[in-house]
Symmetry: C2
Subunit: 353 residues, 2 copies
């Protein structure tokens, strides 16, 4: 009972003298163990950003459902938790290829996800499903049109599902399936929990810009003061959103972005906000990631020369080793989270208020 009361008071940031209560902690909770104390939530829920209505005559190839009518497509699902005594800065988590917002939740081996960890550190935390992924609706009109003979086979959307074997190398568990890099930190004994969370990817069939980009811009404007934390495929989206408008974007943290802005393009949008580009381990052993790191380094160097506050960091260079592309699920995921939080605390103005 005392422990629970103390935990509740820590959540509340209180330190009250109670008869018989010998200790009363303040400051961040220690949530690195397996049994953290209660999580105190001020508000939680979900909503959508964006989307537009379209009329279609190929909505259904199933009896009892009308083929003609209006549907809404292109919207982006957002779920959130705001802790009690929240900081004035929020975090927005944007998953990558072939995945959904599940990326940031409980790890495949059952440990706390970054979403909860960030909330426990006082940040209102927003998690999206990219447009046409997860709880953000896909658009099936063309598939139905082809099935009904109203459109040619070539009109079918270009889709892909990343195989376990392909993802193994892309996620840098090792050079190729099923070889492991020595010291890699992904919980491969629980790999089935990762394969279960992978979903087909419709990105190659979406309009330009990807509807996720304007949705992120709208979301940042709504949240007023949020750090856009992207992963992999989504890496370029926060930059593109910042190019639309800096409104509400407090910083960008790009975790192993598949693409950085061009080093030779207009860098003005990226000189106004703190930017961290973070890579894990084994990059030089990956034909997919080594050139991407180089391109991001060129961008970071150019943005710094243009007056920006852009930092590119490899985790091994700050003493954190063995990280795969899925660093938010690696066994040392909370070490990485702590490093990111420290960067935010020291580089993003609002975080200190």
């Amino acid at each position: 009972m005392k422990g629970k009361l103390a935990a509740a008071m820590r959540n509340l940031g209180l330190c009250v003298a109670l008869a018989g209560l010998t200790a009363c902690a303040s400051g961040p909770m220690d949530v690195s163990g397996t049994t953290p104390g209660p999580l105190s939530i001020a508000s939680e829920g979900s909503f959508f950003i964006g989307g537009h209505d379209v009329h279609s005559d190929t909505l259904s190839t199933v009896p009892n459902y009308a083929t003609s009518g209006t549907v809404t497509v292109g919207q982006v699902y957002v779920s959130y938790q705001v802790p009690t005594h929240a900081r004035p800065l929020s975090l927005t988590l944007i998953h990558g290829c072939c995945l959904t917002g599940k990326t940031w939740e409980t790890t495949p081996d059952g440990r706390m996800g970054w979403d909860e960890y960030f909330v426990r550190h006082g940040f209102p935390t927003y998690v999206i499903d990219q447009a046409d992924r997860g709880r953000s609706a896909t658009d099936i009109e063309t598939i139905n049109a082809v099935k009904e003979g109203k459109a040619p086979v070539t009109a079918l959307p270009a889709l892909f599902a990343a195989s376990h074997e392909a993802a193994w190398a892309i996620f840098r568990f090792g050079p190729q399936y099923p070889q492991r890099f020595p010291g890699e930190q992904f919980p491969l004994d629980s790999q089935s929990g990762l394969w279960q969370q992978m979903v087909p990817d419709w990105i190659a069939s979406l309009p330009t810009p990807n509807p996720t980009v304007p949705a992120l811009s709208q979301l940042a404007a709504k949240l007023r003061n949020t750090v856009l934390i992207s992963h992999s495929q989504a890496g370029i989206y926060p930059f593109q959103a910042a190019a639309l408008s800096p409104n509400g974007i407090a910083a960008i943290v790009a975790l192993e972005p598949a693409e950085c802005p061009s080093a030779t393009g207009d860098l003005t949008p990226y000189t106004k906000i703190p930017i961290l580009v973070l890579f894990g381990d084994y990059i030089d052993q990956s034909p997919r990631w080594a050139p991407r790191l180089n391109a991001c380094r060129a961008f970071a160097d150019a943005a710094v020369r243009a007056g920006g506050h852009v930092q590119l960091v490899l985790l091994p260079d700050v003493g954190i080793h063995g990280n795969t592309h899925m660093m938010m699920q690696d066994r040392n995921s909370l070490d990485v989270a702590n490093w990111v939080l420290h960067w935010i605390d020291t580089h993003v103005t609002a975080a200190a208020s």
Copy 2:
């Protein structure tokens, strides 16, 4: 500050004498207002149930992603929250047609969803995305096979997206779009928030039984003591899961099931657990729902004659009026939730322990 401390203590079920603290409540929180107190969470997260690995040679029609390899399909996403001082009985929420687990979250007009409301009432609450929906992966192999000329157009999956206009009548906002039933309770001023949450439905292309059924059976066995609360299309799944095994299923609450078990089939599985079948208003004015109600009534009568504890209730008959098919999002959604919770409290044994 006092208010927050009192709220925290209510969450903890504590009543401690503190200097200067004049009141210390116990019992259920009043969360009917717009600003409920903090929500105290003991644990939260997500996981998957089920799924199986398949080898495919048509995983991708996008460059840079391998066409051959292994993917996992048929799994079911589950997210959960367990409050502090949780009851020994959990609730599992199973959404219906053209929707995802978002069904139970924040309503289109921004009010608290049933998911959070149930947690605030002490129930560990589990929310699923049906197989091939939301964060549970779809299987796109056949679409890619057709696009590559390896399968005929007729092999394309049968898919449908419910239009706003069709959903209007199916959800009983009125007899037909855009007419309203007098006194209907759906927040139609915020209807765009409902259209944003609708997703394409792959159910007609899935194996039999729907993979959601064995997943629910596995989930109930894992949770040991859970009430399966279904909506609409998902209505038959908990019954089918109970027919597989009663293990872990404490009760079934079917909200406007599209289908009940046959009144002339084997009713044995349904005589072992308390069952509530609940319908809203305007049923007799709906050509879609009136016959479904009749079939469910025949099932309920037959199951009672067979010795079962099965109750079929129309909300207007218990004094709750104006409810559409989307009763968990109607303006009086928490009145309906309270009625369901009272039924559980009085009919499900473990709820009283």
